[in-house]
Amino acid sequence: MKKTGILIELENGRVKETSLGMITLAARTEADLHALVLDGVDDTACDILAQYGITTVVDLALASDPEIRLNPAVRADAAAQAAQKLQLDVIFGLSSADGKDFIPRVAALLDAPLVMDCLDVDLEKNIARTSQYSGKVLADIQLTGDVVIFGIRPNAVQPVPSPAQTKKITVPADNTVPADFVLVSWDDGENSSRTSLAEADIIVAGGRGLKNKDNFSLIFDCAEKMNAAVGASRVAVDEGWVSYAYQVGQTGEKVNPQVYITFGISGSIQHFAGMKTARMIIAVNKDDNAAIMANCDYQVQGDVFEILPELIRQL
């Protein structure tokens, strides 16, 4: 039986939904499922992991000092060492914002093949499905090697409970900060509780049609009422209305929400590259001929400055 290690992401000490989705994906093939937890695992977290089918919870016991705990080189070293000690055959991690600076480090340390941003994985054949060429092509990539690694796109799989007997072990991390790679400061943003783009269920996105930075704040207001994340087109970023961190598209974040709602976005091929896998797209645009109006699930033709305030009022 394969031994699969799943790198669990927590948020305020709780297991993220998207992490549970990875367990469900890994459990499709009979395997001994290990949850690798770097940031401390309490009984509640253990129970949740057990409910979704984890047989061994592995506490990597990372030091709590942020200079150590937030250093991606320290994290990757801890994960890679645990993978070797536990003799894992397969590693799953989230292709999230943090995962993109973590999973490939683990792969590089282990010199193991990796596919990031997997939409699906067949563990019988070690074939991952991912999108390439700006979301225009679906690629099936087969990995070979002693250990193979898959970065799973958040929300690719909905978690399904599948209770198992769980034991907890500790494989302590080295907790040594490399002298050549030191974290000196970190900024968790003005509002760290704001839902992250890559993992949001709903994204409210604005583009050229918002016309200026002040108007763009309507997008933030609407998103807050829906508990949604904020996205932006490249135009909105280039105009300086929002920072690059909000950009969705070819050269921005690739997102996979349940619902993607656009206001004043025309829908360039590069924008679609970042959001075309959304389950539902609702497009609000003045122009009936905008590309996005032909490739969405609901088209709302109208004035963004009438509909957006109305929506905020009714929510």
Binding site: K100, D101, K136, S192, R194, D201, Q247, I269, C296, E306
Partner: protein, 256 residues
Amino acid sequence: MQIYVCIKHVPDSAANIHLLDDTRIDEKVAFLLNPYDEHAVTEAAALKKKAADSEIIAVCIGKPDAEKTIRTAMAMGADRGILVETDEACDSMTTARALHAAIVQDGSADIIFTGKESIDSEGMQTQFRIGALFGFPVVTNAAFLDVTSGKAVVTCELSGGRTRTFELALPCVVGAGRGLNTPAYPTFPDVVKARKKPIKTISLDSLSITPAGGSAKTVALAPLVQKRHPKKITGTPADQAKEIIRILQKEAKVLA
């Protein structure tokens, strides 16, 4: 300083991609310098301005046609180029080994730039593998870089406006993000000058790299067509807003 920039020759993000068969795309489309690599070259050029005795070497693995992309990097500031020629589609493990071997053969790197990812295969990992092969520290999605007295201070972006600032010893590997700078597109004289700069072409075989223990192989490609059939939401703005909320609650079930 000896500055290496690893670049990739990729199809234009606006190109329509057609498939020749199950594993190959039709390459008769416009190819250009990977957009993130533009930021990498731009940052290398900015660094050279501060340390005038620097040399910028653009390194690329690909088919002979990739020379065009090396010329673009040269027009943007690279002094010379190295093309590791191969007709094979290489996975990230092989690519990193080839780039590592080509750089080792050429000189001694003080800093290596890459883009944070390529827009064709979107692997997001080659910079880390290059770093591991050299034993250099690596950052990705860099948005700010300052190099002084043997060290680099780099701020990297995560999502949602979160950042991390690292201090790295040189040599190091920096994966450029879009926030790093604004690439200046080459002027005509720059393009002309770039034509005369030297490119060393070496075959992948001649590097005799040790094969990786694992591999990643594309076994199937399929066009991702997701034709949606839009339904119209009409009425007054108030009606339209109400209907959007109804859909979010009842159909998508994402609102309580």
